[in-house]
Assembly symmetry: C2
């Protein structure tokens, strides 16, 4: 352990006491992912305060062969920010780098350091009459760096795209400690490979994002939130197409819930009630929204959408939220599905996508296949139909013991679901990333040409394999390194 | 020459007489770029008819070490599709691969082979009540593969983005002949590096695009075209911001012309006339457009934009095209600038961008700097202000001899302009790509970290350096290969 001591002494000199700690009490919370599925060990927790410090630290790691696990809010879904159990790596937290360097109201751009928390960015944009159009449940802890490294999604992707679509510029530290500076946003720039695209979604395996320039959009002036009851899942697809035709760019969200999910939320959350009177097999939550340029026409547009959907026989029943309180109540029913389902019993959860046009058919066909293959289970799919992305949960049979059931059945169920998704041309990770949770599955199911390219790029940009080892990029069969 | 003969025999067997030719009459037109600036030699012209044939041919080239110059419509601006003079390479034309494999009206997606001509795609989309939202002057010859490989721009980028924003999926043949298949469009997919992004804009140096899935948008139902006269270039920036505030997503185009450019067009094109009565130093051409969801409100929106711009003192004079004929007449004035300027005399042309917010200031400051440094010249900037991208032309002094002047003065002038652009954080290639025209300049002015990354990726994906050699990626100083 002589080599790490030398490294640690040099790192301590570099970063000072606030920037480097080995205190187990301080380090421990950051060694386990927030869902509690992965726990690792680390040499130390490094918290540099500037891009220059990150660069110097990474150069030091390169010189000493010390692996680096970058970490933002530690709120990822796939264990991508948790070190392995060897204890040879440092955790490199970006949380101290939390400055908003520049917010240009006219140009609608903001340059944030990696540690800026999503909610902080929301508030900073709102204070200028603008909006950062990506949001998700973990907004109180998720950081800009983590959101970029995982190409995060959320509920507003339908209209505004995932994190990739928000990134105008990037600054990152590469494996050798050099700084890749592409922060200045150019709307048009054809000087070769778009390297920032490679860093987005690369989960810290090619470089460490230290800052980014992001786009902002005009603040919403008004929204209309609709709730519809439908007879079958394929009708939700027809309703989505109908909503796109009627509302065009005003369509801000389109989420679906099966009867089971709504009932789970109603049972789990006291005081909630269904927006509609009768029972429906499927529900759609539709949000129309407008900034200044379209706000006036919004109520009429919502009415037109509702009435024409009735006329076309697409919905069994539907309603428009009468006010903002009711609109929030509608959204709460959607947002509480995951905890409500968890309260019922164990489940295997899958974050999957197929082409948008095929998702309703996938749900209709795959659900009974899963239930037939694993008797007693219930397949429940809900979420972002407009993105072709649902959370596909397989609920355990009644009486299954939490922990045991997942350990015994989970892997087989997930493999079955992932096989189905792959057959349908879909993705085993729509928005949560690969991390360490799905690396083996990616290696098993990924296109060999894709995997070969990923390995070649990883090897070229991080030849020592020090950037977030064990994450994302599957090793070649039988290989110990890339 | 034994080795090439073996290769050629095998290639002829593979592709048949329609797929491989050495006939100088047939090959010759494809050895010079359409602007006539570059001419090379080639072993043969290969025209495979399918992805499988491209893959087999590339594998054959890899085995024999034969360089490949991919070519679409041969209408590029930077010599990126022209072979060098060694005659060792084959030109690989994608023009026979011109099938539209699938057009899904509901999903608004189209899968095209690389050789589909842009105008053909426009027509196919229009026949289904849809629109492919990227267009440019060379639409009658430019192919989808070329547009992707150069990440083409055009006049609709402000609202719809460049080619990158239209690409939902890609199929490409890699340097070893393997096929990268990512044609199935997934709106959300976080399975690691987004490799299709790396291929877009890589000018055939990392792979050969053989097909793509592209997005379509609803057909336009109506447009309003405005013409404004302004006192100075910085006012055009204010007017752009004003138009964005008023029109939001309805703003489809924002182009600027200096007085000199308008006068050049009026002198060059009989029958044209200025949309406004008086003389103005600057002109802005603004297009608002709407599909079904916003068409009704469009005339009122155009009127509001015009009146509020007057009230705010942003424009000296302005008018709205009374009908579609007039709207086309307005656009003609913009589209004919380049030929009109060429008729006047020699000029050095630069396709540059700076941050959108800084372009007006750049024009105001850089133009007199250029004119002072090169007495007698006139700096003329026109084009896509809304994208931070203008065509920055430096016109020769009166009496300069075409050919001689460019040869004697051109390089120094371009270097001076590129230095200025780089100082302003901009790009020496906004939309035309690097090709062989600007490779040395990219090597001279590019960020060393960017260049290093590009070389590392090129080396990793094309270790033999056979894909479009001599294009885009600058060699390291003193190096013969990557």
């Amino acid at each position: 352990m002589n080599a790490p001591e030398t490294f640690l002494a040099e790192a301590a000199d570099l970063l000072g006491p606030r920037g480097l700690t080995r205190d187990p009490e301080i380090v421990r919370p950051w060694l386990t992912d927030w869902r509690g599925r992965f726990t690792g060990q680390a040499l130390a927790l490094a918290s540099p305060a500037s891009t220059a410090e990150v660069a110097a630290l990474v150069a030091l790691c390169a010189a000493h062969g010390v692996p680096i696990v970058p970490q933002g809010g530690n709120s990822g879904m796939s264990g991508g920010a948790t070190p392995d159990e060897s204890g040879t790596a440092i955790v490199l937290s970006l949380r101290r780098m939390n400055a908003i360097r520049r917010l240009d109201t006219e140009a609608r751009e903001v340059t944030c350091e990696a540690g800026v928390i999503l909610q902080t960015l929301h508030e900073a944009a709102a204070a200028e009459g603008l909006r950062f159009p990506l949001t998700l449940g973990g907004k109180g802890s998720a950081t800009i760096g983590g959101l970029i490294s995982t190409n995060a999604g959320g509920t507003q992707v339908l209209r505004h795209g995932s994190m990739r679509a928000q990134v105008l510029g990037i600054e990152a530290v590469l494996a050798d400690g050099s700084v890749f500076d592409a922060l200045v946003p150019l709307k048009k720039d054809n000087r070769g490979f778009d390297l920032k695209q490679l860093l987005i979604g690369s989960e810290g395996t090619l470089g460490i994002v230290t800052a980014a320039t992001l786009r902002l959009v005009p603040a919403l002036v008004d929204r209309a939130v609709l709730w519809a009851g439908l007879a079958k899942v394929t009708d939700t697809r027809e309703l989505l197409l109908h909503a796109e035709r009627i509302a065009g760019d005003r369509l801000e969200g389109f989420e679906i819930l099966p009867r089971h999910s709504l009932q789970a939320v109603l049972a789990h959350m006291p005081g909630t009630r269904s927006p509609l009177q009768g029972e429906h097999e499927w529900h759609a939550l539709i949000e129309l929204a407008a900034d200044r340029s379209g706000a006036e026409a919004l109520p009429a547009l919502a009415q037109e959408l509702l009435e024409s959907a009735f006329e076309a026989g697409l919905v069994e029943d539907a309603t428009i939220a009468a006010n903002e309180t009711q609109a929030e109540a509608f959204w709460l029913l959607r947002d509480e599905i995951a905890p409500a389902e968890r309260a019922i019993g164990p489940a295997m959860q899958h974050d999957i996508s197929v082409p948008v046009a095929r998702m309703a058919a996938f749900i209709a066909e795959a659900s009974p296949q899963v239930e037939a293959r694993f008797p007693g289970t219930l397949a429940v799919a809900f979420g972002h139909l407009g993105d072709g992305n649902v959370h596909f949960h397989v609920l355990a049979p009644t009486g299954a013991v939490r922990g045991d059931w997942e350990a015994n059945q989970g892997k087989e169920i997930s493999s079955f679901v992932h096989d189905l998704v792959t057959e349908w041309g879909g993705s085993i990770s729509a928005e949560h990333g690969i991390g360490q949770l799905k690396r083996d599955e990616l290696g098993r199911l990924g296109d060999p040409v894709h995997l070969h390219l990923m390995r070649a790029i990883k090897q070229a940009l991080d030849p020592q394999g020090l950037l977030n080892p064990g994450k994302l990029v599957p090793l070649a069969p039988g290989a110990a390194t890339f």
